[in-house]
């Protein structure tokens, strides 16, 4: 039978999907958070991506409704381990707005210092992970080693390496003296040449360049439409930074500038992070040298137990982007509603579109070798050309029919 008559006499058409469904996560060595990326690949090219979440939902918003404002402050800083200071800052400022409290000038400077130290170590961490994912493990080790300097500085400032817990309504919980100041300055002095070296490395190294440049390119309009925030927004040339727009705490007084890059690719996002880390380092030094005199630590016994009715919307520039807290109070000891929108929530869930069109190896989380589980291959679609119906059957059913 020749092909032409075969087409004419055909009664069924087999449509075999050529895309593979590759689930990555929720537990996977390449991704550091329990999220599931479902990648549909046609050969090497990603044709569709889906994000599945819900593996780490702890019901924190409900928990905050059930607890007092003071307990809520400590719950807020446990939302995220890496950027805990910005969470407590955002919640503290929202509650301060409701209660009409105002921190002292020195407290504002110490808050900014804690947040900027956190930004430096967070940006170093994500760059180290990027180095690991592209197979540059030595660089990962080096960056993580030097990140310890910032962690140490944070420990000197707040008493803890990770959870700073330095905020309290209308002030801070720990002050810094001359000795601590000198120690932090010494650590930052050792860190600065390392940051400059890594920044140069990311800009000039040909391996990093060939893996990151032109990968995941985002146009400014796409970034805005999909509500992506933070370094992603700024690496696409959109000049938006909460620190400059709201000028909360001491951001209006400390000299600094917004870092933007026009390219919009993965390399630009990493370089924006290095530039911001250097900018933050300068801010930390300025704060330590120009710390205003006066009280900073608040007497917690004199703080109000109940709060007046009202609502507050606070924003803060977390290392990953704009962090939002919306607190409603109807009076009393507990908040009525606390809405938290973390930058990762939008950056991860809304970014599915950005994987499409890239090769599987370009999806950064797939870069570490993975044995994909091909779950879609066992199905084909059978279309009945005469009857016009369509049904899905497993592949082994067809094998039995020998058609």
């Amino acid at each position: 039978m020749d092909t032409e008559s075969a087409v004419k006499d055909a009664t069924t058409l087999l449509k075999i999907p050529i895309s593979l469904e590759i689930p990555i996560g929720p537990q996977h060595p390449a991704i550091h958070e329990p999220v599931m990326l479902k990648i549909y690949a046609d050969g090497e090219e990603v044709v569709h991506a889906e994000i599945n979440t819900g593996y780490n939902h702890r019901g924190i918003e409900k928990l905050m409704e059930k607890n007092s404002y003071y307990k809520g402050k400590f719950i807020a800083s446990r939302v995220c381990g890496i950027c805990n200071t910005v969470h407590e800052n955002c919640y503290t400022r929202a509650v301060e707005h409701i209660a009409g409290l105002e921190p002292s000038q020195r407290a504002k400077y110490i808050r900014v210092l804690a947040m900027e130290l956190e930004r430096v170590h967070s940006h170093m961490l994500i760059n180290a992970i990027m180095a690991e994912v592209i197979g540059f493990d030595t660089l990962f080790m080096y960056i993580m080693r030097d990140r310890e300097l910032v962690m140490k500085a944070k420990e000197v400032l707040a008493g803890n390496r990770v959870l700073a817990e330095i905020h309290m309504f209308s002030g801070v919980r720990r002050d810094i003296d001359g000795l601590k100041r000198e120690k932090i300055l010494g650590l930052l002095k050792r860190l600065e040449p390392r940051l400059r070296y890594y920044r140069k490395l990311f800009e000039e190294d040909s391996t990093i360049h060939s893996r990151l440049a032109e990968v995941g390119k985002l146009k400014p309009i796409d970034v805005l439409n999909h509500s992506l925030v933070g370094p992603v927004l700024r690496a696409s040339g959109v000049k938006s930074d909460v620190r400059a727009e709201d000028k909360h705490d001491a951001y209006g007084e400390v000299p600094w500038s917004i870092v933007t890059r026009p390219e919009g690719d993965s390399l630009a996002r990493m370089l924006v992070r290095w530039d911001e880390a250097l900018e933050s380092l300068e801010m930390c030094k300025y704060i330590l040298e120009h710390l205003p005199e006066g009280p900073a630590v608040v007497d917690e016994k004199k703080l109000p137990r109940t709060f007046p009715p009202g609502e507050a919307y606070a924003r803060v520039e977390a290392p990953r982007g704009e962090l939002v807290y919306y607190v409603i109070s109807t009076g009393g000891t507990n908040p009525y509603r606390v809405k938290i929108r973390t930058p990762s929530a939008v950056n991860v869930i809304n970014s599915a579109f950005s994987y499409v069109g890239h090769s599987v190896a370009d999806v950064p989380v797939i870069l570490v070798s993975y044995d994909p589980c091909i779950s879609c291959m066992e199905r084909v679609t059978v279309i009945d050309l005469k009857g016009g119906g369509e049904k899905r059957v497993p592949l082994n059913y067809l094998a039995r029919r020998r058609c």
């Binding site: 979440t53 819900g54 939902h57 019901g59 918003e61 409900k62 309009i221 805005l224 439409n225 999909h226 509500s227 992506l228 925030v229 959109v238 000049k239 938006s240 400059a244 727009e245 709201d246 919307y313 924003r315 704009e322 939002v324 919306y326 409603i328 009525y336 509603r337 809405k339 929108r341 929530a345 939008v346 869930i349 809304n350 579109f353």
Partner: protein, 111 residues
Amino acid sequence: MEVLKNSFSGNVYLATIAGVDRVKENVFELNYFVHIVSLGKTIVIRTSTPKTSPRVDTIIDIMPGAFSAEAEIYDLFGVEFVGNRYLRRGFFVPLDVASQGTHPLRKDAQV
């Protein structure tokens, strides 16, 4: 929402949608926080829907960034966004909670 987006020539993004269960008024309140980049300001658009049949038109066709917020509110409050085909239960809450038909952030939900 479209007028707002066009009047700033697309230089806006949706920060989030905050759902609130207002027990006294017996409504779900939805606060749309839209950030205008060129002004550096956030504006709030507030709407509400009755608790008996919570339905609101989706804005995902105007602002695709609303996807995460709408998916969250559908899962945690049970507000249906008409026209959003991607909504499903169990997006955030575990499936054993979702299968009981519980919406955890409603004030009457027992968790």
